[in-house]
C-alpha cells in the first residue's frame, strides 16, 4: 500500500496544488495552523505590551501629563491624564490578553500544534478539521476581546479574575457594562477553541505516534503538552460553568454570585442567596491549573533545547516525566491558595497551604534535573540556549517566590500586593516568554527554512532578560513593603512614599524591555526573507522534526518509512563524525542507551 493512502482522514496531501486560501488561510495542515497561532499570539503580545507601556507610564510618572496620548486616546487620556477607569480597563485587558491570547496561543496552541505531530512522527494532528476550527474560533475570540475596548463604558475593568460583584453589577465600575459581557463571550469562544485544540493534542499523542514511538520515547515537550492538555480539559469546564452563571447574573436577574442586601452606588439591588466566593472557587479551579497549562510547555521546550546545546542527554528523563505527572495531579487540588484571606474557612486554608507546599517537591526535582543537565556538558551558548538558561533562572526564582504565597501565613501579608505581581510575571510571564523566544529561535529554521540572526538575537536576549528580571524581582520587594496591586497610583499613602524611586526604576526598565522587542520584530521579519538558508538539522538535535527537511513537506516526513528506535536524548555517543544519534538511527549503527 502506498503512503499516499496512509494520511490522516480529511487531510489529503496528495493534492499539493491547493489554492492560497486552502493552503495558508483555512489550512488543515498542523504546521500552518501552528504558525497562524504563533503569529496571532505575537500580534496580541504587541497589544498586551502597548497596554503594559500605559500602565508603567502611569505608575512611574503619576503626575505627568501626556499630550500625545491625549490625542491618540482622547477618551482614556482626557486632558493628558490617564482616567482611572481607563487604567483599570488597561490592567484587566493586559492580564487577559497576555495569559489567554499571547501565552496560550503562542506557547500552548502554537508550538503545540507545530511540534506535537512532528515530534511523535505523525503526518498531522488526529483531527485536522477540528484543528482548523480551533484556530478560527480562537481568532474570533481574540478579535472580540480587542473589540471590547470600543464599546460603551470601555473594556472590562474588574481585573482578569473578574470577581463579582464588580463584574456582575453594571454600575459598579464603567467597564462592567457591555465590556464585561463581551469579555465573558470572548472567554467562552476561547475555551471552545482551547478544548478543541487540547482534545486534538491528547488524541494525537494517543493515536498517531510513529511505530516505535512508545510513551517513554516521547520528548519532554510532547509530555508537557500532553499533560497540559489534559489539565486544560479537566479545569476549563468550571470556568465555562462560572461564565454561564455570571452571564445569567448580569442579564437574566439570577443571583448565583450576588448576596442579599447589596447597595451599589446608592441603588438597592433585589438579588439574594448567592455568594461572590463561589465565583472565586470556580474561577481558581480553572485558574490554578491554567498556570501549569502555560508553564509546563515552557519547561518542556527548555528541556528539549538544553541537550542540543550541552551535547549531553537530559538529566533524569523518567523522573522529570513523573514530576510533570505529579505536578499536573497536584495542581488540581490547590486552587484555594489564591483565596487565603478571602474569608474562606481557616480549616481549608490550612489544607490548601499544606497541599500547595507539596508541589515544591516535584517542581524542585524537575528544576534540579534541568540544572543538572547543564553540568558536565560541552556548552554552546547559542541564542535558544541563552533563553533556556533564562527559563531555568526565572523558574527557580519564581518557584522560590511561590513558597511565600503558597504559605497561608506569609500570604496574609503578601496577597494582593506587588509580590504576587512579581511572582506570576516571573512564572507565567517570564518562564513562558523566555521559552517562547528560545523556541522561536530554535524552531524558526524548521518553520521557515531560514536561520534567525544570531547577533541581533544575542542583543535581544540581553535587553530582554536583564530588564525583565530587574522589573519583577523588584516588584516582589514592593510587595514586601506592602504596595497593593491594581493601584492607579501610589501617591495617596504615606507608607508607599518610599516606593516612588522603585517604581521609577521599574518603569524605566519596562520601557527598555518593551522597546527592545523591536529588535525581535526586526529579526523575525528580516530573517523570514533574508535569513541564511537553514540545514535540515542546524542544531544537531535528535528529535524527529530534525530528520525531515526544513521546512517539512505537507505530510511531514515525505514518502520515507519512519520507525523510531531510541529515546529522544541520544547525545554524547560515537556515531561516525557525529556525537549524537537521532531517534530514527537503528540500534545496529549506534547502541541504544535508553
Amino acid at each position: 500500500m502506498s503512503h499516499a493512502a496512509t494520511t490522516v482522514p480529511g487531510h489529503d496531501q496528495s493534492h499539493p496544488e491547493l489554492g492560497f486560501i486552502r493552503r495558508y488561510v483555512f489550512s488543515l495542515d498542523h504546521k500552518v495552523i501552528g504558525i497562524q497561532y504563533i503569529v496571532t499570539g505575537l500580534l496580541m503580545a504587541l497589544v498586551g505590551a502597548a497596554l503594559a507601556t500605559l500602565i508603567r507610564l502611569q505608575l512611574g510618572w503619576p503626575e505627568r501629563t501626556w499630550p500625545l496620548l491625549a490625542q491618540l486616546l482622547p477618551k482614556g487620556y482626557a486632558g493628558g491624564v490617564m482616567a482611572p477607569e481607563f487604567y483599570l480597563a488597561v490592567v484587566t485587558m493586559h492580564g487577559t490578553i497576555m495569559v489567554f491570547f499571547f501565552m496560550s496561543y503562542v506557547l500552548v496552541s502554537g508550538f503545540g500544534n507545530y511540534l506535537v505531530p512532528l515530534q511523535v512522527g505523525a503526518r498531522d494532528m488526529a483531527f485536522p478539521l477540528a484543528n482548523m476550527l480551533s484556530f478560527w474560533i480562537g481568532a474570533l475570540s481574540a478579535l472580540l476581546m480587542i473589540a471590547s475596548f470600543f464599546v460603551e463604558g470601555g473594556a472590562a475593568a474588574a481585573g482578569w479574575t473578574a470577581y463579582p460583584p464588580l463584574s456582575a453589577v453594571a454600575t459598579a465600575v464603567p467597564g462592567s457594562g457591555m465590556g464585561q459581557t463581551i469579555w465573558l463571550l470572548s472567554m467562552a469562544f476561547f475555551i471552545a477553541s482551547f478544548t478543541l485544540s487540547g482534545l486534538n493534542i491528547v488524541a494525537t499523542v494517543f493515536s498517531v505516534r510513529a511505530p516505535g514511538m512508545s510513551m517513554w520515547r516521547m520528548p519532554l515537550t510532547v509530555w508537557s503538552y500532553f499533560i497540559a492538555s489534559i489539565l486544560g480539559l479537566l479545569a476549563f469546564p468550571a470556568l465555562t460553568a462560572a461564565a454561564v452563571m455570571l452571564l445569567f447574573d448580569r442579564h437574566a436577574g439570577t443571583s448565583f454570585f450576588l448576596p442579599a442586601g447589596l447597595v451599589v452606588g446608592g441603588r438597592h439591588l433585589t438579588n439574594s442567596g448567592g455568594s461572590p466566593l463561589l465565583w472565586q472557587h470556580l474561577f481558581w479551579f480553572l485558574g490554578h491549573p491554567e498556570v501549569y497549562v502555560l508553564i509546563l510547555p515552557a519547561l518542556g521546550i527548555a528541556c528539549d533545547i538544553i541537550p542540543a546545546f550541552t551535547r549531553k542527554p537530559i538529566f533524569g528523563y523518567r523522573l522529570s516525566v513523573w514530576c510533570l505527572v505529579a505536578v499536573g495531579a497536584l495542581s488540581m487540588v490547590v486552587w484555594g491558595h489564591h483565596m487565603f484571606v478571602s474569608g474562606m474557612s481557616p480549616f481549608t486554608g490550612e489544607y490548601f497551604s499544606i497541599a500547595t507546599m507539596t508541589i515544591t517537591l516535584p517542581m524542585t526535582v524537575f528544576g534540579v534535573n534541568m540544572l543538572a543537565s547543564l553540568r558536565g556538558g560541552a556548552i554552546r551558548m547559542g541564542v535558544p540556549m541563552m533563553f533556556s538558561c533564562a527559563v531555568l533562572a526565572l523558574f527557580g526564582s519564581g518557584g522560590l517566590g511561590g513558597l511565600y504565597l503558597g504559605n497561608a501565613t506569609a500570604d496574609m501579608q503578601l496577597t494582593d500586593t506587588y509580590f504576587v505581581v512579581g511572582h506570576f510575571h516571573m512564572m507565567i510571564g517570564g518562564v513562558t516568554l523566555m521559552a517562547t523566544f528560545g523556541g522561536l529561535h530554535y524552531w524558526f529554521p524548521k518553520m521557515f527554512g531560514r536561520m534567525m540572526n544570531e547577533t541581533i538575537g544575542k542583543a535581544h536576549f540581553w535587553l530582554t532578560f536583564t530588564p525583565f528580571f530587574i522589573i519583577f524581582f523588584m516588584q516582589h520587594f514592593l510587595g514586601i513593603q506592602g504596595a497593593p496591586r491594581r493601584y492607579y497610583a501610589f501617591t495617596a499613602y504615606d507608607f508607599l512614599r518610599e516606593t516612588r524611586i522603585q517604581n521609577l526604576v521599574v518603569s524605566s526598565c519596562a520601557m527598555v524591555l518593551i522597546a527592545s522587542q523591536s529588535l525581535f520584530v526586526v529579526n523575525f521579519v528580516w530573517s523570514l526573507f533574508r535569513g541564511a538558508p537553514a540545514a535540515d538539522n542546524p542544531w544537531e538535535a535528535t528529535t524527529l522534526e530534525w530528520t525531515t527537511s526544513s521546512p517539512p513537506p505537507h505530510d511531514n516526513f515525505g514518502q520515507a518509512e519512519l520507525t523510531v528506535h531510541r529515546w529522544p536524548y541520544e547525545y554524547g555517543v560515537e556515531s561516525g563524525d557525529r556525537d549524537f544519534a537521532d531517534q530514527r538511527v537503528p540500534p545496529g549503527r549506534v547502541p541504544v542507551t535508553a
Binding site: V202, G212, S272
Partner: protein, 200 residues
C-alpha cells in the same frame, strides 16, 4: 465521518487505553462535559448549604411525573444499547428500529420537560425568584435542567442524523457506538440531577 481503516504503521504501534482513539476521545469529551455539570451541581450544593431554608423539590415537583420522565430516558437508553448491539452484529434494519425508538424516547422526554417548565413558570417560578422560597432554588432548577435539556435536544438531533445514515447505509458500527456513548452520558447526567436536585 468515521475514518476508514488505516494501516497500523501510522498508529504509533501502541494503543494506550486499548480502546481505539475515537472511543478514548469520546470518553475525554464525556469527562469534560460531565465536569461542566459537575461544576453546576457543586455550585447548586454550595448555594443550598448557604441557604437557611430550602424548598423540598419532591414537594414542589410531582414525584410520579419525575418517575415517568426517568422511565422514558432510561428506556430510551436501553433501546440505544440494543441498537448499538444490533449495529455491531450488522443487523442494520433492527438497529434502525431501535434508533428510531430511541429518538422518539428523547423527543418524549423533551416534551415532558417542557411541560414541567410550563407548570413551574405558571406557578410563578422565574430565574430571579420563585414562590417556594430561596431565590437560588428556581435559578438552579432552570439552569441545570435547561442545560440537561439542551444536551437531550442535541442528542435527538444527532440521533436523527444517525438514524438517517443507518437508513441510507452510510453508518458504521463504531459511529453508532459513539452516538450511543453520548446518549448514555445524557442519561448518566440525569441520574445525578435526579438524585442530587430532585430527591436530596
Amino acid at each position: 465521518m468515521m475514518p476508514v481503516a488505516r494501516p497500523a504503521a501510522w498508529d504509533g504501534g501502541v494503543c494506550p487505553f486499548a480502546a481505539g482513539w475515537q472511543r478514548v476521545l469520546m470518553w475525554w469529551f464525556i469527562v469534560g462535559d460531565g465536569l461542566l455539570f459537575g461544576a453546576f451541581l457543586a455550585a447548586y450544593g454550595y448555594a443550598r448549604l448557604i441557604a437557611t431554608t430550602w424548598p423540598d423539590s419532591s414537594v414542589v415537583f410531582s414525584l410520579p411525573y419525575l418517575a415517568a420522565m426517568t422511565l422514558v430516558l432510561n428506556t430510551s437508553s436501553a433501546m440505544m444499547a440494543s441498537g448499538v448491539a444490533a449495529a455491531r452484529r450488522g443487523a442494520w434494519p433492527t438497529a434502525r428500529r431501535w434508533l428510531l425508538a430511541t429518538t422518539l424516547g428523547g423527543v418524549l422526554f423533551l416534551g415532558m420537560q417542557a411541560d414541567e417548565w410550563r407548570h413551574a413558570i405558571a406557578a410563578g417560578a422565574r430565574l430571579s425568584g420563585n414562590p417556594w422560597g430561596d431565590a437560588s432554588f428556581g435559578a438552579y432548577f432552570f439552569l441545570i435542567t435547561g442545560f440537561h435539556g439542551t444536551h437531550v435536544l442535541l442528542g435527538v438531533l444527532i440521533l436523527t442524523i444517525a438514524t438517517a445514515r443507518v437508513a441510507t447505509r452510510r453508518a458504521t458500527p463504531l459511529g453508532i457506538e459513539l452516538v450511543g456513548l453520548y446518549w448514555h452520558f445524557v442519561e448518566l447526567v440525569w441520574v445525578f440531577i435526579f438524585t442530587l436536585f430532585y430527591l436530596l
